[in-house]
Amino acid sequence: MTKELKPVTGRAWVFGNDVNTDQIIQGQYLTLLDYAEMAKHTFEIPRPVFKSKVKKNDIVIAGRNFGGGSSREEAPKVLLQSGIGCVVAESFARIFYRNGFNVGLPLLIIPNVAKLVSDGETVIVDLIEGTLSVRSSGDVLHGKPLPSRMLNLLKEGGAVAWYKQSSGKH
């Protein structure tokens, strides 16, 4: 059952370089067993207002090396749980990149994106084209289209759905 990947429209939350997984979700919350409970602590250190202001389909924009550090899958999970529609960054740390697609959180790489988008602006991200448009100015930023393996994972709805599909469970 493949999903259509529609463009995501939302407000930008802009971050700098090297936002590590401890900044997304601190280690002290990892023993919380309920993701909804854990998500209340998303970006607690770098952006304390995030949890009260985030809206569905908001978009996280970041500089280089987003999601470095711990392998914790809780990082992309709490972003999804918070309603984040996708993350656009100049580059991603290796494990975070895998984890994002595994759990169904789209990740797009666009050079200089954190310098070209302002916090709070409404942007439209087209995952198939690999573009980000700024609604107010109409500016379009071009990134790399998603690798086909990652695109297929998203279309299936993440790695578990992909596994069930390929092992003939559904």
């Binding site: 090297d18 002290q28 023993t31 067993l33 899958e73 895998r98 759990v103 393996r149 578990v160």
Partner: protein
Amino acid sequence: MGYTLAEKLLASHTNDGKATAGDIVEANVDLLMVHEVLGSRILGVLEEMEFKKVWDPERIVVVNDHWAPASDINSAEIHRRNRNFVKDQGITHFYDVDCGISHHVLPEKGLIVPGELVIGSDSHSTTYGAFNTFSTGLAATDSALILATGSCWFRVPDSIRIDVTGELQDMVMSKDLILKIISDLGPDGANYQSMEFHGDTIDTMKVGERMTISNMSVEAGAKCAPMTVNGHVNKWMETLAPSKRWKPTLPDKDAEYIDTRTYDIKSDPLGPMVATPDSPTNGKAVREVSGVPIDQAFIGSCTNGRIGDLEIAAKILKGKKIREGVRLIITPASKHTWMMALERGLLKIFMEAGGIVTNSTCGACVGGHLGVLGAGEVCISSTNRNFKGRMGHQDSRIYLASPATVAASALMGAITDPRSV
């Protein structure tokens, strides 16, 4: 062109025997280590997958190490789930809360074998590169898929070759070397890449010292950090894994590296290093930060909680008292390490110096328990990450250093060059 260590180690695990940098390959995993992530996250994924049986109960290692023994009700529940899973699935290798930190326990139990492909549900799984393995960290979903199938896809990494020549000076440790190397690379300088270590410094290094280097390579973003087998690794395998059959893997002489970096510590001697808050790649010479007052000094973790680390700390602390008002916390990496430290009289030295010796666990390093930092506190730590809030309150500050520098700093109550005490 020839192949790098990462390429050769991965190629020996693909069905067609091929793996070239940039390729995406499906590889057969030899060993999967999972810790508390099993109970907290993986079991939920397995349920969604309608999973029944693990692919091979002898190739899975379950460790309760991060919050050991349980620090709260949630971690107690996670440990309970792990024990039940081990029982239900007939998992052969299980190390409960009394055993210590996975990345030290696995090699100590002879489970890490040169040439193998080892995956852990923990980013510091790069540690096993010191044993000539391809080893890397993945998270819950990938671990669940491996539990079910025994295989996983990988993008074959490019390799950075790092050659180190010369001898480390007195009171200078492999921790200082890796802090220097990752600070030169930056936090994403090796992202997606293999850091392959060579040179006479690495070739003569003890196993524990090598593990520190492979362990912290992930802080520059490395996917894996393999080394070739040396005499110490040979001896380790003969002693701790005599029944295992293996042969060493070498890179080809004409292997292709995207970068080669050389450290000649003979002509340009390396001194003790300290990584300032909030990145492990903020490495500075100790003299640049000496005198910064500390509240806590911590020696432990998968990076530097081994017997050699405790020995050098004891050498510095023997017959002395730490500065009043400073907490010195020592967490040996494993039960075996703890017992060795007991037998060699090290624990007595720590206690008499005013320190606290805890059981073996990740503990303070993840801000879990046994040494959590309060608001505004400063800690010098032999661990691997000094991210904001890593060890407790978001307004605490962490300086990373070698066990020698941590011990010397505990004595003086401020960051101190271990060569000066």
